[in-house]
C-alpha cells in the first residue's frame, strides 16, 4: 500500500475530517459553557439570589440553602468515603496478592462504577431513608454518594500510594521499621498530596450528582440545613426540581442562575484539581 497520488489526497481529506471531529468536541464544550454563563451569570452573581431564601409559591426566591446543602453534602461524603478508600487502597496495594479475593473486589468496583446513579438513589432510599428510618437527609445522601464514588476515589488513592517508590519502603524496613510503621510513617505521608489531588475530582461529581440524591437527600428546603439528619436540597437536584415541578413563575430565572452557579463551582473544582495536580507532579 504505497502512498500514490490518491493516497495523499485521501490522507488530506481524512486529516481534515479528524480535525473537524477533534475541534467539534472542544467547540461543543465551549458552546455549553458560554451559553449557560451568558444566560445565568448576572442572576448567579446577584447577592439577593445566592444569599436569598428560596420561595415555594411566589417569585423572587434565592438559593442559599441549596448551596449550603451541596457543600455540606460534599464534606460529609468525603468524610465518610476518604478513610474507607485509604484503608482499601492500602490493602489493595500493600497486602493483597493477585488472586481470587482481589480479583472479585476489582470486579465489584468495576460493576459499581458502571451502575446507573438512579439505581444507587433507589438503593439509598430503601436502605438509609426507609430501612434505617433516617428519613431524607444529608447523611443518607452522603452514604449513598460515598458508595457511588468509592470506585473512582479508590482508584485515585491507590494510584497515589503505588507511586511511592519502592526504595522508600525498603529503606524504612531496612532501618528496622515494621511493615505497618512503614505504611504509616513513610508510605502514607509521601502519598498524601497525591491522595488529596485524587479527592478533588470526585468532589466535582458529588456537586453535579442529582439522580442519586433526589430521593435520599431531598428536593426543596427553605432553611439552611445544620444537622446531618436534616432534609436538604443540593443545587443540582433543585435545578431539576425547579424546571420540572416547582410552582414559581420565575423558575426560568432560578434555573438559569442555579445552572450558572453550579457550573462555576464545578469549573473551580476542576481547575483547582489541575493546579494541585501540576504542583504535585513538579515536586
Amino acid at each position: 500500500m504505497s502512498a500514490g497520488k490518491d493516497g495523499r489526497r485521501s490522507d488530506r481529506i481524512a486529516a481534515g475530517v479528524f480535525w473537524v471531529l477533534g475541534m467539534a468536541t472542544v467547540a461543543l464544550l465551549l458552546f455549553i459553557i458560554v451559553e449557560i454563563l451568558a444566560r445565568g451569570l448576572l442572576t448567579a452573581l446577584n447577592p439577593k439570589f445566592f444569599l436569598g431564601k428560596p420561595e415555594a409559591m411566589k417569585a423572587g426566591g434565592g438559593i442559599l440553602p441549596m448551596i449550603v446543602s451541596t457543600l455540606y453534602l460534599v464534606v460529609l461524603t468525603i468524610a465518610i468515603s476518604l478513610p474507607i478508600s485509604i484503608g482499601a487502597a492500602i490493602y489493595m496495594s500493600e497486602f493483597a496478592r493477585r488472586g481470587r479475593v482481589s480479583g472479585s473486589i476489582r470486579f465489584c468496583l468495576d460493576s459499581l462504577s458502571t451502575l446507573p446513579s438512579i439505581v444507587f438513589g433507589l438503593f439509598g432510599m430503601t436502605l438509609f431513608v426507609i430501612y434505617f428510618r433516617w428519613g431524607m437527609c444529608l447523611l443518607a445522601g452522603a452514604c449513598t454518594l460515598a458508595i457511588l464514588n468509592l470506585p473512582i476515589l479508590l482508584r485515585g488513592t491507590e494510584e497515589a500510594i503505588r507511586l511511592v517508590p519502592n526504595t522508600y519502603r525498603e529503606a524504612s524496613m531496612s532501618l528496622g521499621a515494621s511493615k505497618w510503621t512503614t505504611i504509616r510513617k513513610v508510605v502514607l505521608p509521601t502519598a498524601m498530596p497525591g491522595i488529596m489531588t485524587a479527592t478533588i475530582l470526585p468532589i466535582g461529581r458529588i456537586m453535579g450528582e442529582s439522580a442519586a440524591i433526589i430521593y435520599t437527600t431531598g428536593l426543596f428546603v427553605r432553611n439552611i440545613p445544620l444537622n446531618p439528619l436534616d432534609t436538604a436540597a443540593p443545587l443540582a437536584g433543585y435545578i431539576w426540581y425547579a424546571q420540572s415541578e416547582a410552582l414559581v413563575n420565575d423558575y426560568r430565572r432560578i434555573v438559569d442562575g442555579g445552572a450558572a452557579l453550579l457550573l462555576i463551582m464545578v469549573l473551580a473544582v476542576y481547575f483547582l484539581a489541575r493546579y494541585l495536580g501540576k504542583r504535585y507532579q513538579q515536586k
Partner: protein, 301 residues
C-alpha cells in the same frame, strides 16, 4: 542469606496482633465494594418482587401498557416494554453518532493533532465529563428541543433530542478510553506501516484501528453504560409520554426517566414496578460489565 538474617527478614515483614487487626480493618474497607454490590442487588430485587409476583413476567416486562393508578395502585397496569424500548433505542442511536465521533476525536488526539492542541482537546473532554447532567439537560431543553421543533415541525421532545443529549454524556468516556487504547499500541506498528510507505490515514484505518479493536469496543460499551444510566438530562428532553414508539420525534420515556417521573407519587405495586425497572437497568449494566470482561480476556490470549 544466613539463618540469622532470614529470621530478621521474617520479623521485618511480620505483623503483630494489633497490626493484624488493622490489616483486617483495611481488608474490610476493600470488601465494602463487594458488600455494596450484594446489598444493592438484594434491596432492588426485594422491592421489585411484589410486582413480579402480582403481575407476572409477561404483564410487567413484555407489555407496553403503563397505566398506573395513583389512588388505587392494584387497579393499574404496569408494563414497561415502552421504556425498555426507549432505553435501548436512545442508547443505540446515541452510539451510532457517539462512537464515530468519540473514536474520531481520539484518533485526532493520538495521530493528527500537534501536541499543544491534543492537550487542549484532552482537557476539554475531561471538563465535558465533569459538567453536571442537569446542566446538559437544561441546555438540551432550552436550545436543542426548540431547534428540533423548528426544524421538523414536531414538539421537539422525543428520542432524537434524548439521543443527542446522550451523545454529549457518553462522548468523554468513549474518547478518553479510545485515546488511551491507541496510545498503548506498540509504536513499531505505526513505524512499520509508515516505513512501507503508507499515509497516516492508511496507517490509521488499516493498522491502528484493527489493532486497537477490542479496546475501542470496550470504550464504546462503557459509553453505552453511561447512556443507559443517564437520568436527569434524558428526562428533561424526551417528553415523558408512556407510549411505545420507534419514531425519533414522538414523546416517550426511558427506564431511568420513567422512574424519576413517577417515583414521587408511587405506592404499593406501582412503586414495586418502578423498582423492577431499576432491576432491568441493573441487569443491563451487568451484561455490559460481563461482556467487557469477556472481551478483555480475549485480548489477553
Amino acid at each position: 542469606m544466613s539463618a540469622q538474617a532470614r529470621q530478621a527478614g521474617i520479623r521485618l515483614g511480620a505483623l503483630n496482633a494489633r497490626e493484624r487487626n488493622v490489616k483486617y480493618l483495611m481488608f474490610a474497607c476493600a470488601s465494602l465494594s463487594v458488600l455494596a454490590i450484594m446489598l444493592i442487588f438484594l434491596f432492588i430485587l426485594r422491592e421489585s418482587l411484589p410486582a413480579i409476583r402480582q403481575l407476572g413476567v409477561r404483564n410487567l416486562f413484555l407489555s407496553a401498557d403503563w397505566s398506573p393508578n395513583v389512588s388505587n395502585p392494584e387497579a393499574g397496569s404496569y408494563g414497561m416494554l415502552a421504556f425498555i424500548n426507549g432505553t435501548i433505542m436512545t442508547t443505540l442511536s446515541a452510539m451510532l453518532i457517539g462512537a464515530p465521533l468519540g473514536i474520531g476525536a481520539a484518533v485526532f488526539i493520538d495521530q493528527f493533532a500537534p501536541p499543544s492542541i491534543a492537550q487542549v482537546v484532552r482537557r476539554g473532554i475531561e471538563l465535558l465529563a465533569g459538567i453536571p447532567s442537569v446542566i446538559i439537560g437544561w441546555f438540551g431543553l432550552t436550545l436543542l428541543v426548540p431547534f428540533i421543533a423548528r426544524l421538523t415541525g414536531s414538539s421537539g421532545y422525543g428520542m432524537l433530542a434524548a439521543s443527542l443529549v446522550l451523545v454529549v454524556m457518553a462522548l468523554p468516556t468513549i474518547t478518553t478510553l479510545s485515546a488511551e487504547t491507541l496510545r498503548s499500541l506498540p509504536p513499531e506498528l505505526q513505524e512499520a506501516s509508515v516505513a512501507m510507505g503508507a499515509t497516516r490515514w492508511q496507517t490509521v484505518y488499516r493498522v491502528l484501528i484493527p489493532a486497537a479493536r477490542e479496546g475501542l469496543l470496550i470504550a464504546v460499551i462503557l459509553g453505552m453504560g453511561r447512556a443507559i444510566g443517564e437520568t436527569m438530562a434524558v428526562q428533561m428532553v424526551i417528553g415523558n409520554a408512556r407510549q411505545l414508539t420507534f419514531s425519533p420525534l414522538q414523546r416517550t420515556s426511558t427506564l431511568t426517566s420513567r422512574i424519576i417521573t413517577d417515583m414521587g407519587e408511587a405506592t404499593g405495586v406501582f412503586r414495586s414496578a418502578l423498582f423492577a425497572q431499576a432491576l432491568v437497568l441493573l441487569i443491563l449494566a451487568m451484561v455490559l460489565i460481563v461482556s467487557i470482561r469477556l472481551i478483555s480476556r480475549e485480548r489477553k490470549h
